[in-house]
Symmetry: C2
Subunit: 187 residues, 2 copies
């Protein structure tokens, strides 16, 4: 049973999207990566609509079993944090509207999961993403590589929504099947 | 030509909505006020979906010519700012998806427009909202009164989107008609 996870690195100018398939033995393969862009000179409401539609199109095309969104902190990057938070709201809502379980992951969780080191730099993360996915080069742009790292982290740490958000959402049939397969693979 | 303006005071636990009709002579009448609530114990994605659906239902029911959303600042209320920003993203996107012009207004703009004093306290704003709308009592809860104040401010300050956001969105036919009526009323 393959689990498909879609990661979203929220951003208003470039919103990274990465999709991976994860096997019960934790082997990961690349499905898709890219960014949705919006024009910084457009009004904020049009930018949010553009990004929201792009995210929804990617979700509907790739039909993930689970979605991971990077957790945004108010303390960081005051200049861009409002747009990032607005995009994360669109991403979370899009997941809930489709009853796809969604989890939030912090940057340090993602770094630790992918490189083994929570304070790894961006280059180390990108190098490990390429290695895990058996790519010759790190994916570009960086926002797409970050979204892939997020998806890999979420899959490896258990993509069940309860684990990630503390929420009470039930597992989907696909997730239950995957969890059972994962348990079986560890015997 | 009456201009209908819908104000949104974004919030994750209580999101205020206020709708007013404004005549060319600047007289304002109440159409609707209320709040959309979400359960603080629910997962964030479900809360955002609940608030988003409630906002969209109110927009579709009242069919405003213009929407005003309170501008959120990253510096204020660190504990709640992320949820507030996420809801403001949903509100802006909902307006853009319906091609309804939307503008952002700061709290001090709203206070100045409604009370004549940019540092007015909440009680003064609520008292003036009741007076402007010829209500016996200030609307409750405060989030709904804030949304009405926002709608009144936006209408009085010129609800054209270009004025409020600096964006290049064209005026709708209703707005052009209202702008013409407003010019005529000043002759």
């Amino acid at each position: 049973m393959t689990l498909r996870v879609l990661g979203i690195d929220p951003g208003l100018t470039r919103c990274g999207i990465g999709v991976v398939d994860v096997e019960p033995d934790r082997r990961v393969s690349l499905v898709y990566y890219g960014v949705v862009r919006s024009d910084p000179s457009s009004p904020i409401e049009e930018r949010l609509l553009t990004i929201g539609l792009g995210l929804e199109a990617a979700i509907d095309e790739h039909e993930p079993h689970a979605i991971a969104v990077e957790r945004v902190f108010a303390q960081h990057n005051l200049r861009t944090v409002m747009g990032t938070a607005q995009v994360s709201g669109l991403a979370l809502r899009a997941a809930a509207a489709r009853t796809i379980p969604v989890g939030l992951r912090t940057p340090s969780e993602v770094k630790a999961a992918v490189t083994g080191y929570g304070a790894a730099d961006k280059k180390q993360v990108q190098t490990m993403v390429a290695r895990v996915l058996r790519l010759a080069e790190p994916p570009q742009p960086a926002d797409a590589a970050d979204a892939l790292a997020l998806a890999i982290c979420h899959a490896w740490r258990g993509a069940g929504p309860a684990a990630a958000t503390g929420g009470a959402a039930a597992l989907t049939p696909a997730q239950r099947a995957w969890a059972a397969a994962e348990r079986a693979s560890k015997r």
